[in-house]
Amino acid sequence: MLKKLFFVTALILCCFAISIAQTSVAGHPVLENLSSEPGIVEVELTASQERLSLVPGVETDVYAYNGRVPGPLLEVSEGDSVIVHFKNNLPEKTTVHWHGLHLPFVMDGSPFHPVGPGETFTYAFRIHEGTAGTYWYHPHPHHRTAWQVGMGLYGGIIIRDHNDPLPDTLTERLLILSDNRFDDDGQIEFAETGSRQKRVDDMNGREGDVLFVNDEIMPELTIRSGEVQRWRIVNASGARIYRLALEGHTFTHVGSDGGLFEHPVEVDEIILSNGERAELLVYGTGEPGSSITLRDLPYDRYMPMFRPSNWEKTNDLLTLLYTDEKPVQEPFEVPETLRKIPELTLDDATETRIMRMTNGKINSRTMDMNRVDETAELGATEIWDIRNLVGMDHPFHLHGFQFQVIDRNGEPVSQRKWKDTVNVPGFESARFIVRYDNYPGLWMFHCHILDHEDQGMMGVLEVK
């Protein structure tokens, strides 16, 4: 009898442990799937005002998804049908934009479909094959995106491939990078209208001096010597562009916005602009017991007259601690080919759209919700020529459709990859090719410096 009781207790504890493990993926709590049907992911997501401790020892008024900053992870697989029961408990309208996902227009969470205070909306969409990767969700109400993201509304998405070429034995981490600014009372600070700081924020985008990795400042992560980890990184900052480097280590860059590359690339550092994602393999080449730092190196994205005085400062993001365990003896080797990405060919392109980006405007216009700026046919393949006419970076984001960058400043890019955001440094240009598959509608394109987006550096592409 005692034996039987012990067995049952052990079983329950085991199940509980499994349950706990299942609620955390890549270091993040996961939105609970309410559906027991295979292929259906049904979750509840609520945006609300909360009071959380973002900075140790201080409680801060925030906006949060399901009471957390960042919001919980949405974990799905290719082929899944996703149902998100969204409730807006904020005192203002909002949306949930599923950044990078290919889905119907009404589900995109763009400014065209605001959800009012106290209202609900059910987002329902299917996860397409070939889209496995790292994405994120955030609000997108017209003129209020920078505010709402700055207040804490953002969360990660992982789409899994049932035939992922990378083994699931690799330790996986999702690092959502953000920054924020706080006043003396520990409250999130936004510049006052008419102030000098507001002018700087309008031009540069609002940067914060406190840098977060997920919900922590300078977290400590662990790695075993000889181990290989898979890091998924999201730039959820409203304006800060990260130049990431791990001291004494290289990265193997295996993926970006729309999932894995065709071939891995060895890099010393990566630049991640607003809204972009990266997938990296981190090799534990250090000695047991040692530690290294993930750093944000100086990156000059600014107009010379608005460049912050401390822009050359290196920021530490996290510490990677080597465990005392003896090194892993069988190192993982990344496949030379990760997957085949279908090529969008120039010969199929029927139009070239030129986007001239100036500060706050695209093609000399600011966003008008009642105006369609570009019109294209469903199924058409087109080239977009993004020209940055001013002296600061502008990351360009297209909703609804992943694209392939074909060249920068006339120079072909090294390999094919799926992107939804392309950073265009000052006075430079980039061209990408895109095909408008499946979904007609009014699709936003904009600078993903959120302050610029809110100022109207955004337009509408109608696909019909």
């Binding site: 010379p304 460049r307 100036t358």
Partner: protein, 305 residues
């Protein structure tokens, strides 16, 4: 002396922000006999080539924005870069502009503040010419003899929010290489000579398209530079109001919308230089007005019959 120069150059620099231009661009390793480039202005950037050959250069300048714009070409002294110019010169001008606009300081105090805040090397910046103001949708041509070097192009008009176009982004680097050009200056049918307290216009000012030469015979002793903006005005327009509008330090000076219709001209050049611009005249009254010295007599009020 310095104060006067500050006033002159304040407008110039205030225009430091550039627009990005995209233009036809000659290769830099060959000579050219038809050296023409295109620079497009929009709100608030230039599309322009990055590198052009030296020599006589015709710039076709089109305003594709919704506001008035001009083009000013500045040459920072040796060793100073576009970045130095943008950060070292534009910031003091913008700060002074904000002090004028928001704090209501006097123009005299503004000039004093500029003198204190500008870097010493600013006084060695050369202004090589550029277009006069043109409205949205208009195009003008200027021809200048450009020497090899690194230049800054900019527009320092103000938008409806009172922000300087150059601060908003209308500022860009232009590199002139030692690659030769065999292009020649155009033949002008109207000659304008700028000297202290006087603007001379020689030629038959009649309706139609004209090629104007502009020669800077002398700079004012106290350091003012001369330029020419051509504006079509109503018969009852008060010239003093236009002069006041041309003063960058006035709160609504050089701000959109302009009170008159500008049709181009030639921006500040070094003493002794000659540049060219084209303009089409219709019957009516025109002001040929120097931005900084018009109120000192460097202007002409003409009626085209």
């Amino acid at each position: 002396m310095r104060i006067f120069k500050i006033l002159v150059f304040s407008s110039i620099i205030a225009g430091l922000i550039t627009v990005k231009a995209h233009a036809q661009m000659h290769s830099t390793d060959a000579s050219h006999s038809d050296h023409i480039i295109t620079i497009l202005a929009e709100d608030y950037a230039f599309q322009a080539p990055d590198v052009i050959p030296q020599g006589w250069t015709t710039i076709e300048f089109s305003n594709e924005g919704n506001e008035d714009h001009f083009l000013l070409i500045a040459k920072p002294p040796e060793g100073k870069t576009f970045d130095d110019y943008a950060s070292g010169v534009l910031i003091p001008f913008n700060d002074v502009w904000y002090a004028l606009r928001d704090d209501g300081i006097s123009q005299e105090d503004a000039m004093g503040k500029l003198g204190a805040d500008l870097p010493e090397w600013f006084w060695a910046v050369e202004f090589i010419g550029g277009t006069g103001i043109i409205p949205a949708g208009a195009t003008t041509q200027i021809t200048l003899n450009l020497e090899p070097g690194s230049y800054v192009i900019e527009c320092y008009m103000k938008n409806e929010d009172g922000e300087l176009h150059n601060v908003e982004g209308m500022m860009r680097e232009l590199t002139v290489t030692e690659s030769p050009s065999e292009a020649s200056p155009p033949n002008a049918d109207i000659a304008i000579t700028l000297s202290n307290f006087e603007m001379m216009i020689d030629g038959d000012l009649k309706p139609g398209k004209h090629s104007f030469s502009v020669h800077v015979a002398e700079h004012p002793e106290q350091g003012f530079g001369h330029n020419v903006h051509v504006a079509r005005v109503a018969p009852d327009t008060d010239v003093r109001e236009v002069q006041r509008y041309m003063n960058f330090m006035e709160v609504d000076g050089l701000q959109t919308p302009a009170p008159v219709q500008f049709i181009g001209g030639m921006h500040i050049m070094p003493q002794g230089n000659t540049g060219y611009f084209t303009a089409e005249l219709e019957p009516g009254r025109y002001l040929f007005l120097s931005e900084y010295t018009g109120h000192l007599g460097v202007m002409q009020d003409v009626t085209i019959e």
